[in-house]
């Protein structure tokens, strides 16, 4: 076990959380008034934690780089949120949700954490409805559910294509209530640039006011990092432009272990890159795969002709199309899990069958669904022998009712009518399962430094199921952290306010100032984005959907060189005073350039394929992932030692007592 103590309570799985809550120390209400908590990030995990902690009586300070807490990237989640409510009576239960999540994560997550998540999922829905979150409803007035990939029940609650926004607005409203009461002080357009440790405990942060440019010291008895994932290490991802790893990475450098950095989810249905100018990628909901058939041309000449604009997809005859998912995975077909679908698309495009000008796109075709729905509709309308046009028109109506807003979004971006021409899609980086290592209490390896939501590693193993990210963020924030943090803070009731004029604050602030100042002493000509794009290319090509030993070694070397070049040569205009968006980006990219190397190192260490991590050396003869449970049944927790390449590995061995570890198969 080494120095990693997961602090998982003993006892039967289903009783662990209840028992733990009964046994941990509490802080009495009068004492909570004397305790300050800093929360970095105001997405679902941060906003919900802030609201609950403030409500319990703690003094909370929240920090976000956006201009309002409500704009954190949780807002972009479309599909839904899982909860084992069993409202549909289809046999769902917390155990089933737990099991699906463990299996979906390819057996690389901690049983006790996942079970707790499944247990709390039911409370989330109750809570959100009480707060006025407008979930979709049936005509009877009760909540509606839909099903998502990788599961056999309908447990996903949703608010059209805006579930993330509605849930975040709910958490933000709860925050607003506490801001109004004076229990939360919200710092917007502030970025945490370092964690301050006093006597080995997290006692505050150094933040930069992005408007004035001033460095500020903020002290607290505990610091919660809810700063999201690090998908932007790839430059192009579905993350927001500002999403970054800085808060987590700075904590890592101060002693928090970073777990499983190479576990990244690449979502199969995104709008493909259109050119070098591309700044970010847009996700199309996974639900499209229910009706769309994915294909590329069978013949290389046809693919080439399409890329050169000499041929249209609709001109390719049925027998000349390769529905490769249906071919390879007859049982699941187009509905294989995200990681499998993504890799299959890459395999075809790498083989030269890509269908847009960059060669990195496959078709998602609705014509079969339109014809099928059209015929069904014609039948129900009593039309005998309808002509083709009528069938198509009727079918398009059905498709529009189901996916209208997505089709409209696609048309706005690509300028092609997806009803008439097949959509083009390609996988894109979407979510990072890895993150700061935390124990059962969500505490990192730094005492007093907690980590919640996407920023931690805890619940999704090597692959996350759809509609589970929102669930984790809210469970952590509303129901887990507020209890577990009390155990730690109960020892701080006599500490009193933490002064910000201590040597620790002086020194940390000086280090931040020095780090930022260095960006203005460079002599090069390339902008921050130039380096970020280069890093993204390395990551995508060598640490992306499939990885191999030599590529990962090259990646480590190239990233280290790029980092050196960046630190010496990046051009940042302006000064530290006032608003300087390039300086903000420079700080973030500097941290990505370190994380990227650790990412590659982690992927290199893990000589197996599991979930989002696919090593070409470890696959079955027909190209499926090959997990190695004997050697790699552990969480990789990396300790910073001064250079990402020299990070020290600590292993938390995963124990599965309640599920049978099996091979995932979708054939």
């Amino acid at each position: 076990m080494g120095i990693l103590d997961s602090k998982v309570p003993s006892g039967p799985l289903a009783d662990k959380w209840t028992r733990h809550k009964n046994e941990i120390n509490l802080v009495n209400p009068a004492n909570k008034r004397n305790i300050d908590i800093i929360i970095v990030g105001t997405g679902l995990a941060g906003a919900s934690a802030a609201a609950t902690l403030a409500e319990l009586g703690y003094n909370v300070k929240t920090f976000c780089y956006q201009d309002s807490p409500r704009r954190a990237h949780s807002i972009a989640a479309q599909g839904g949120i899982n909860a084992a409510k069993n409202y549909q009576g289809d046999g769902d239960s917390p155990y089933r949700l737990f099991y699906d999540t463990i299996k979906g994560g390819d057996y690389r997550s901690r049983e006790a954490n996942v079970y707790r998540l499944a247990e709390e999922s039911v409370n989330i829905i109750d809570q959100c409805v009480a707060q006025g979150v407008p979930f979709a409803r049936e005509y009877g007035g009760l909540l509606d559910n839909r099903s998502f990939g990788g599961v056999l029940v309908s447990r996903t609650f949703y608010a059209k294509g805006q579930t993330g926004q509605q849930l975040l607005l709910g958490a933000y409203a709860a925050m607003n209530r506490q801001i109004h009461r004076g229990k939360i002080k919200s710092y917007t357009r502030h970025e945490m640039l370092d964690l301050v440790l006093v006597d080995g405990k997290a006692r505050g942060i150094i933040a930069r006011d992005l408007v004035t440019g001033k460095l500020e010291r903020h002290s607290a008895h505990a610091v919660v990092l809810a700063s999201g994932g690090y998908g932007n290490v790839f430059f192009l991802s579905t993350n927001a432009m500002g999403s970054n790893v800085t808060a987590a990475w700075r904590a890592h450098r101060r002693g928090a272990f970073f777990a499983n950095p190479c576990f990244t989810q690449i979502h199969p249905t995104c709008i493909p890159v259109s050119g070098d100018h591309q700044s970010k990628l847009t996700l199309m909901s996974e639900s499209l795969r229910n009706d769309g058939r994915i294909w590329v041309p069978k013949n290389l000449e046809d693919a080439k002709a399409i890329r050169e604009g000499r041929l249209k997809p609709t001109q390719i005859a049925e027998e000349d199309r390769d529905y490769y998912l249906e071919r390879r995975y007859p049982a699941f077909g187009n509905l294989v899990p995200r990681d499998v679908a993504s890799r299959a698309a890459k395999e075809r495009c790498d083989a030269g069958f890509g269908v847009n000008k960059t060669g990195e796109a496959v078709y998602l075709d609705f014509s079969a669904a339109i014809a099928r729905y059209g015929r069904e509709k014609a039948l129900t309308m009593g039309l005998q022998d309808p002509d083709k046009e009528t069938v198509t028109a009727l079918g398009e109506e059905v498709i529009a009712a189901k996916y209208g807003n997505l089709f409209q979004m696609y048309e706005k971006i690509v300028d092609e009518n997806p009803y008439k021409t097949p959509m083009m899609i390609y996988p894109a980086v979407h979510y990072t399962m890895g993150g700061l290592w935390v124990d059962y209490n969500l505490q990192t390896t730094i005492p007093g430094c907690y980590c919640t939501g996407e920023a931690n590693f805890s619940d999704h193993g090597a692959n996350r199921l759809g509609a589970s990210a929102l669930m984790q963020g809210l469970a952590d924030g509303y129901f887990v952290l507020p209890y577990t943090i009390g155990d730690y803070l109960s020892k701080d009731i006599r500490t009193g306010a933490i002064p910000t004029d201590s040597e620790a604050f002086d020194q940390t602030e000086a280090e931040v100032r020095e780090r930022l100042g260095r960006f203005f002493q460079t002599t090069g000509t390339h902008s921050v984005d130039y380096y970020h794009k280069k890093l993204g290319k390395i990551m995508w090509n060598k640490c992306g959907m499939s990885r191999n030993e030599s590529g990962l070694k090259e990646a480590m070397k190239e990233i280290a060189e790029l980092r050196k070049d960046f630190l010496e040569n990046v051009k940042v205009p302006g000064s530290m005073e006032g608003m300087n968006t390039e300086l903000e980006k420079a700080g973030r990219v500097a941290d990505f350039l370190e994380l990227g190397e650790l990412f590659a190192k982690d992927a290199l260490d893990r000589n197996e394929s599991c979930g989002g991590h696919f090593r070409e050396e470890y696959q079955t003869p027909d190209g499926e992932a090959l997990r190695d449970d004997k050697k790699y049944n552990y969480v990789s927790a990396w300790e910073y030692t001064g250079n990402p390449a020299d990070a020290r590995l600590h292993k938390e061995t995963l124990v599965f007592e309640n599920v049978e570890v099996k091979t995932r198969s979708y054939k």
Partner: protein, 248 residues
């Protein structure tokens, strides 16, 4: 395509700003409007000039950060989208594009095209919530059945992303559509009834305090709203407000 950009440059909230001309070439129709500005900024940085500052984040039309007045319209000439979803194919080679910040006394300019919309946050802090504790122990979600039509209407109001286009478009810089969307979202739900009176009074009071203008029912906000929030919400808020005032 080649374009002439006229962009508002202003160093900080205290300084005076002005429009500055930036000719730009090599713009492709597939670029989003913000990607076009990225291209400009890369050129400015290469020349050692300060890049143009503008708010943006998700770049997929949902976070509500981006906020440009493009050729006299918030989020540009296209409808039901935000600036980040506007593509350059909506413009022609040789076009002149005037880019200004959203303007209102309640939205002071921070720098260039970036404005401070914290007034929106304060309006919501004044009452845009249901006072329920978040630490659990609420009733079962299905114990509160809600008529589907009402739930859908509430959702439609709740789709507001708080971008401020309504204020920017309004000739009076009024925030009625925003505030009304927030009031309506709760007013339409049974959970929101308990605090309905105080909510509308407090939110409207804060809206007035922030210095937004008055609604003259021009309907510009509804047209420019990227989420298509309906004017019906304003009527609903007026109604709620009058009833709440009558109650005292």
């Amino acid at each position: 395509m080649n374009l002439l950009l006229k962009i508002w440059r202003q160093n900080n909230s205290a300084s005076r700003g002005s429009l500055v001309d930036y000719p730009i070439s090599g713009i492709e129709g597939d670029m989003s409007f913000l990607e076009m500005l990225d291209v400009l900024n890369e050129q400015l940085i290469a020349k050692g000039e300060d890049p143009v500052v503008f708010d943006h984040d998700c770049r997929e039309g949902i976070c509500g950060s981006c906020s440009l007045m493009i050729n006299g319209e918030p989020h540009g000439p296209d409808r039901l989208i935000t600036t980040c979803q506007l593509h350059m194919r909506k413009f022609k080679d040789g076009d002149t594009i005037v880019i200004e910040p959203f303007r209102a006394s309640a939205f002071p300019v921070i720098k260039d095209l970036m404005v401070d919309r914290s007034s929106f946050d304060r309006i919501q802090q004044a009452g845009g919530y249901i006072s329920v504790n978040t630490s659990g122990h609420t009733v079962d979600a299905n114990a509160i059945p809600i008529e589907k039509e009402k739930a859908d209407e509430s959702f439609a109001a709740a789709t507001c992303i708080g971008c401020g286009a309504c204020v920017a478009a309004c000739k009076n810089a009024s925030a009625m559509l925003f505030t009304a969307a927030k009031v309506s979202q709760f007013a339409l739900l049974p959970q929101g009834q308990i605090e309905a009176t105080d909510r509308v009074l407090n939110m409207v009071k804060q809206m007035d305090l922030e210095g937004f203008g008055n609604c003259t029912n021009t309907g510009a906000c509804e047209v420019e709203c990227p989420k298509g929030i309906s004017l019906e919400n304003i009527a609903r808020m007026n109604r709620e407000y009058l009833m709440a005032s009558a109650k005292g």
